[in-house]
């Protein structure tokens, strides 16, 4: 481990200096490879490898369903889902790569800055699926073709409708600080969840850290994954979630559970979860096939319909009854800034919340 004293910030400074010299060329002449279609040869090669390993922070049930959809479309190639929080995905890949263990093919992270980090480390393989090249807007794909936005979603406040009346429900982050919610709030952790690192960055930038200092006085129930607060709400364990993924709130709500999202008046953190391919992938062809599949309208629609996610693919249609992104006031996402400040955010969070 001596050789693996990472600092995301240090790395960025180094690569920043490098980028300053070559920024112009990278911007104008993208290093992205040409778009790759799914060819019979690719499918054949993937079948020979037999499986693809996807490290992801998408909630377990949905990620397994995506895996199953892939297996159904390409029989003979199984999809092994390794799900944990994005920051744990980072920890695992770091530990594994430091010991020369190359198990991961494709990675998905709700902390978009990690993809920037891995790319700068030279760990990602440039590969542009046809859909990404043709349809994805520029802000949702890497100029060098190493990753693109597999999923888009929000990190929302929400409440249990059995425990809280609609008119009494919080409307904003500021409302969460009302003493009446003391002991009734559940909240996820940025040391585990990429969604929460990203959201903590956006909220602390827009509202200031004193918001979290006051929130820490509310006697919150601290869980790990951003996928957990919606489940704790559905169980009735807590009345309010201070943060957590929107897509599970939508899933629970649409399956009849008493939960309701709140789009805060200050704005709601926007989370982008890109997919990327590793250069040292043990199953390179299956990885390409899976990457192409994951950006297809078919998979994106699945993510929307049963997953409650949103999509950057213009052909994917929003599901009726959900508030469209265009009608929600959003906080601005900024992976580069998260990359610079993630360590500081986590350390500060631990100081404030003591875990």
């Amino acid at each position: 481990m001596k050789g693996s004293k990472f600092s995301r910030r240090g790395l960025l400074i180094g690569s920043g200096a490098l980028a300053a010299g070559s920024a112009f060329s990278t911007r104008v002449m993208s290093a992205a490879p040409p778009a790759s279609a799914v060819t019979p040869a690719l499918i054949e090669a993937a079948k020979k490898e037999g499986k693809v390993v996807w490290y992801t922070s998408v909630d377990l049930k949905l990620s397994e369903q995506i895996g199953k959809a892939f297996e159904a479309k390409y029989p003979g190639v199984s999809c092994k889902v390794e799900r944990t929080g994005a920051e744990r995905v980072l920890q695992r890949i770091t530990q594994e790569y430091s010991a020369n263990v190359h198990a991961v093919d494709v990675v998905n992270s709700s902390d978009a800055s990690l993809l920037v980090y891995w790319k700068e480390q030279g760990m990602l393989e440039p590969y542009v699926p046809e859909d990404v090249a043709k349809f994805y807007p520029p802000e949702h794909k890497d100029v060098d073709g190493t990753y693109a936005s597999f999923r888009v979603f929000l990190c929302v406040i929400a409440y249990n409708t059995d425990l809280v009346k609609k008119e009494e429900a919080p409307k904003s982050f500021a409302d969460l600080l009302d003493p009446k919610w003391k002991g009734k709030i559940v909240k996820a952790h940025p040391g585990y969840s990429g969604t929460i690192v990203t959201a903590t960055y956006q909220v602390s930038r827009d509202l200031g850290w004193h918001f979290f200092e006051k929130l820490a006085q509310q006697n919150i129930l601290q869980v790990q994954s951003a996928a957990d607060p919606p489940k704790k709400l559905a169980l009735g364990e807590r009345a309010i979630q201070a943060d957590g993924v929107e897509y599970l709130i939508l899933q629970e709500k649409e399956s009849g559970k008493p939960v309701e999202p709140v789009y805060a008046t200050e704005g709601t953190p926007l989370i982008v979860g890109p997919n990327g391919l590793f250069k040292a992938a043990p199953n390179p062809n299956a990885a390409r096939l899976f990457q192409s599949f994951s950006f297809s309208p078919e998979c994106q629609q699945l993510c929307i319909d049963i997953g409650g996610l949103r999509s950057a693919h213009p052909q994917a249609k929003d599901k009726a009854g959900r508030t469209p992104l265009s009608q929600i006031k959003l906080m601005k996402d900024d992976p580069a800034a998260v990359l610079k400040t993630a360590e500081e955010i986590k350390a500060r969070y631990v100081k404030i919340f003591h875990v």
């Binding site: 481990m1 199984s78 092994k80 920890q91 263990v101 994954s225 169980l235 364990e237």
Partner: protein, 574 residues
């Protein structure tokens, strides 16, 4: 647990070349590699800075930063309280089972065994289902009965007291077993004498039974303290939501990105040192017990007649056993088949969806099951063989330096699982031995962790077999290995099977070392459950947890049935 005393010296004849020598040396080397290497790396990391230069700054940081000091103090308080509770509950229970005419004593012992083999992290998750302030089944029941408001709760498992309670639930069997066994073995004549001389029941208890049992209780308290101090699963599940860290969870968090291995190593050392000190203390306490029960002819333990109170006592014992066994198992069963884990299963919300999800959709299930079985079988087989050879060598004093072997085999007792995990991680992520990412590193961890108990068990088994049978075989010309194989092995069959099963069950429930060492390809059942807990997938955990318990009980039942069958065959040789 630690006594590494040897039997009385027996005259041995050594002549000619004996193949057993190199074999024994090999085992000694293996043992060295298992224990000495990880601990050395741990020390190296703890005392060096990033450039590899000697420093004590890591320790300075530990004692000066509240983020590290608080967990240390919390852990100490937690372990002390748990040990006290365990003794207060387990000592009377041990006495009831060993020395009274309470009904269903065998059943009570069996149920204590059940709580003994229940993985503590599973118990913690089950208690979340029972006693989470709002959704916990017991709190719902309480509100139902009292008509209390929505937010009122009786129990809050996400608290320091909650954690102490859950840890005590799965630690008290250690004290129970020590006390019950000690009382089983203590002859009754001293108590008889007291009674004959006119001592009242209470006088006899106060002046004879309690002093006789006290060393076992104290030893139990120390073991309980160690268990509570080094546990990872329960604190990881309950302490984090409550907003505090223990030492083990802190060490684990130091591996989050960016990893701080040198701090993790330094934070591991207090646990290691404290464990060694406490084990020395336990050794002294247990040593004293040896004197107290020596003397007098072996008579049957004296049974105290409880009269009508025996049913009251049984009820009390059952109420205690509700906490580690009945209630948690019920909660897991309920969550497995309920649409919402916090709702009681009834016709309208019964579902097989959770079972289906675990077995048909969750792609990690098969892998984790396979890995657990492979590791369980290999660790149990390898560990038993290793322990067998070392126990033989020390019990028969077969080679010079056998004491060192005995010491090494017992040493892992002093290494908490998570500390060993950290040490192994350092050792096997670098050349020449890059084992991280393979099942081997987990195998090494499990064999090492199980070695002390396996060794103790087999050593006492060897001591029970008199060497004269082996001697006869060797006089007739058999080599040492042959006489071992043909004479000693059949006699030890039952102990060997028991040890094998003991290690297998231990592997199934191990989490603290596994959490440091697994990769996606080498995931085991315990780690899978831990992962699921972090994202709150309680229903899937319940199904997997029940599966884990079923496997465990099947193994325990197998051990028991084989042991009974085997003992008949062993008897005639006596």
């Amino acid at each position: 647990m630690t006594a590494v005393a040897s039997t009385a010296p027996i005259a041995r004849r050594r002549f000619g070349f004996d193949v057993s020598k190199p074999v024994l040396l090999l085992f000694a080397l293996v043992l060295c590699a298992l224990i000495v290497m990880p601990v050395s790396w741990l020390l190296y990391y703890a005392f060096t800075d990033k450039a590899g230069v000697f420093t004590i700054s890591n320790f300075n940081r530990l004692v000066s930063d509240a983020a590290y000091l608080d967990p240390l103090l919390t852990t100490f308080a937690l372990a002390t309280l748990s040990a006290l509770i365990c003794c207060a509950v387990a000592a009377p229970m041990g006495w009831l089972v060993a020395r009274t005419d309470m009904p269903l004593r065998r059943t009570v012992r069996l149920l204590v065994t059940a709580s003994f083999v229940t993985p503590p992290f599973l118990g913690a998750i089950a208690w979340e289902l029972l006693a989470a302030p709002n959704s916990g089944l017991l709190n719902q029941l309480y509100r139902e009965l009292t008509g209390a408001e929505q937010d009122v709760h009786l129990l809050n498992i996400y608290s320091f007291t909650g954690l102490v309670f859950v840890i005590s639930c799965y630690t008290f069997p250690y004290v129970f077993v020590l006390v019950a066994n000690a009382l089983d073995r203590t002859p009754g004549d001293l108590e008889d004498a007291s009674a004959i001389l006119g001592g009242k029941a209470w006088d006899t208890a106060r002046r004879i039974t309690i002093p006789l049992a006290l060393p076992a209780v104290l030893a139990g308290a120390l073991v309980a303290f160690l268990q509570a101090m080094t546990l990872f699963g329960s604190p990881a599940i309950l302490a984090m939501p409550a907003g505090f860290h223990t030492m083990t969870t802190k060490i684990w968090s130091l591996f989050q990105f960016p990893p701080k291995p040198e701090l993790a190593a330094a934070a591991s050392l207090p646990l290691l040192v404290l464990t060694v000190i406490l084990l020395r203390a336990e050794h002294m306490v247990l040593g004293r017990r040896g004197y107290s029960v020596v003397g007098g002819k072996n008579s049957e333990p004296r049974i105290v007649r409880l009269g009508h109170y025996r049913w009251v006592m049984l009820a009390a014992a059952m109420i205690v056993l509700m906490c580690p066994v009945f209630l948690p198992y019920f909660a897991l069963l309920n969550a497995s088949f309920s649409k919402v884990a916090s709702h009681l299963v009834w016709v309208n919300n019964f579902t097989l969806q959770n079972v289906h999800f675990v077995f048909y959709e969750l792609s990690a299930t098969q892998l984790a099951l396979r890995n657990t079985f492979i590791l369980g079988t290999l660790a149990a087989t390898g560990g038993t063989i290793l322990a067998l050879v070392i126990a033989y060598v020390t019990a028969r004093q077969a080679v010079a330096g056998h004491r060192i072997l005995g010491f090494l085999a017992t040493a892992p007792v002093a290494i908490p699982g998570i500390v060993l995990g950290v040490g192994l991680f350092f050792t096997y992520t670098r050349p020449p031995f890059v084992l991280y990412g393979t099942l081997w590193i987990l195998l090494i961890a499990f064999v090492t962790l199980s070695m002390p108990a396996a060794y103790q068990q087999l050593q006492s088994a060897f001591r029970a077999v008199h060497p004269e049978l082996e001697d006869a075989s060797r006089i007739l010309g058999a080599t040492r290995l042959r006489s071992l194989w043909q004479i000693t092995a059949p006699l030890l069959r039952t102990s060997v099977i028991a040890t094998w099963c003991f290690i297998f069950v231990g592997v199934i429930r191990e989490l603290s070392a596994a959490i440091m060492l697994f990769t996606s390809e080498t995931k085991v059942l315990s780690v899978l459950i831990y992962d699921l807990n972090e994202s709150g997938d309680l229903a899937a955990i319940a199904v997997l947890g029940l599966l884990m318990l079923v496997i465990t009980f099947a193994i325990v039942a197998l051990a028991n049935s084989l042991r009974l069958g085997g003992s008949r065959r062993v008897d005639p040789t006596r």
